[in-house]
């Protein structure tokens, strides 16, 4: 029993160390962001007079307001579109007759592990030939398509877990596929839909590569994509850079803390399936 106790203590110690390690970079950024402008901060240091006004300055210089609006619009279009397409398609794979179903499904499986670097070059020329480069659509349309491989696989397995007798009962009553889908299966699938929404939100909001390639104007990019030009501009101003970077991270962090239960559930389940 005594030995067990010491193992527990060691485990908890490791856990606490890991947690400290996870938080350290954030503390370090905070500490730097609160130093006087133009100073050369060193590591983590306490200040008697924290300069909170640095955050206001960084807000303006990093153009946070237009970025927030932009990323919000992006997410508000991409997430519902992904959910609608994935729910309909996942339902088709789980319940309906589709010609060469196996082949179609394999096409989506292929997309699960394809790194975005593989397709970003042709995507650039495709969007360019559509005349959409540097418009809002340049990010919206591809991000819908690129989130669907996971969405389809996710929603299919979700619909397959719904007991079939429910659907049989309804089809005996003469409900069409549209009605069964909308009135029975979709409501039962809501928990999975909300998880999909969270995962799609994260991957869209944090998207960096596509934002840098497809939008020249930093203000049209995602919050993450805008970091690139901001860092390029203020590389030497450590104080401002850290304040701005913290603000760029803030929306996802705040949303995560508010909805932590749902985020953690979605991310754990999502990793297992993806």
């Amino acid at each position: 029993m005594k030995q067990k106790m010491s193992i527990r203590v060691m485990g908890n110690l490791m856990l606490i160390l890991t947690i400290a390690f996870s938080v350290l970079p954030f503390l370090s950024m905070f500490s730097a962001a609160l130093q006087p402008r133009g100073s050369m901060p060193e590591g983590i240091q306490f200040t008697a007079h924290p300069h909170w006004e640095n955050f206001a300055a960084a807000w303006n210089m990093a153009n946070i307001t237009p970025l927030l609006v932009n990323s919000t619009i992006l997410v508000l279009v991409v997430v519902p579109a992904v959910i609608i397409c994935s729910a309909l398609g996942g339902y088709a794979f789980a319940r309906l007759r589709v010609p060469v179903k196996g082949l179609f499904y394999a096409l989506f499986i292929v997309g699960l592990t394809i790194p975005f670097e593989t397709l970003v070059t042709p995507l650039y020329y495709e969007i360019s030939s559509m005349g959409l480069l540097n418009t809002r659509w340049a990010l919206i349309l591809p991000l819908i398509g690129l989130n669907l491989a996971f969405g389809i696989v996710w929603m299919r397995s979700c619909f397959e877990q719904i007991p079939v007798d429910l659907i049989e009962a309804a089809s005996i009553d003469g409900a069409g596929h549209g009605r069964i889908f909308a009135q029975i299966e979709l409501p039962l699938a809501l928990p999975s839909v909300s998880s999909l929404a969270i995962l799609t939100f994260l991957s869209t909001w944090n998207q960096f590569l596509l934002a840098v390639v497809l939008e020249n104007d930093p203000n049209m990019r995602t919050m993450a994509g805008a970091l690139q030009s901001f860092v390029g501009q203020y590389q030497t101003d450590v104080v401002l850079l850290n304040a701005g970077a913290l603000e760029i991270m803030a929306p996802t962090v705040i949303l995560f803390i508010v909805l932590q239960r749902y985020f953690i559930k979605a991310m754990l389940a999502g990793s297992v399936k993806g």
Binding site: L96, T113, L141, I152, A169, A170, L227, V231, A245
Partner: protein, 338 residues
Amino acid sequence: MSNANLSEKTARISGSLAASASSRTASATSSASPTKAASPARKPHHWARTGRQMLVGLLFLLPALLFYVTFELWPIIQTFWYSLYHWNGIDASTYVGFSNYKEVFTDPELYGSIIHSFFLIIFFSIVPIAIALITAVLVKDLKSKTARGIAQVFLFLPRVIPGAAAGVAWTWMLADNGTVNQMLKAMGLGNLTRVWLGDSHTALTAVGIIGFWLQLGFCIVLLLSGIGGIDQSLYEAVALDGAGWWRTLFTITLPGLKGQIGVCLTMTIVAALASFDVVYMSTQGGPGTSTMVPGVQVYRLAFTQQRVGLASALAVSLMVLVLLVVGPVQALVTRDRD
């Protein structure tokens, strides 16, 4: 949801459907349920019914297929196509067969980037999973709900922020007067301090440390959730058998965590091989080419050097390597699940 609850819901739903369905005429509904056909004369031929069912299925699938094919599948196919040409993105392209691939595997700068990405697997994948495993085995189960909640939130933070922001955070951590050097000085190791990301001897390892930070917390939570799900009676059984700590680890814990370890491996290996955000924000592949990875190299070749064919060949090679490494891991996990 409990069983009773579920069947109650069924009853309610089918009741309401029956009520509304009766008000519609049979011909107006697109339903193809066989039990409903009233008279044999009005029953459609089998092939007609199948055709109509398939049409419905295709209609459901159509929106997803449209977006997916246009913006993912077609670009992938085109990458293969581009990789066989010399093209600067503007002028006419010339067919060069597999010579771009030859260049990928003979130019040290290009295959070097692939080697770097494999080196990163140590820090993105092997070290965090090993430490996560030890932590999970030692902690086993976080009994207190609050402790688990707090631990999970902090451990997930690195995964929630954009990878690009993690690059910025760690550029500052590892800077000349950053926190890492400050801590080294405080420990009396001041002679070890350096600009970690700016020194070509340490830069790649420093990038690896960032990856380690990104992956560790998530792996711990995932393995902890797995270890909590292992049947306690198994542990009691081997304890009665007189099994020691190591035998318990290898006969019960590791097999029980196979699925979770597979997930961690897949996720972290893909993150290492296809890394872009972190490297691009912290070093851009430098100094020199000491931290160049395929992702950043593809971007540079395609968009700053206008060598689209070569970029595509490297991109295809990257994709094939990811599939070659991840495929066996995935196969192992899914085979065990069935």
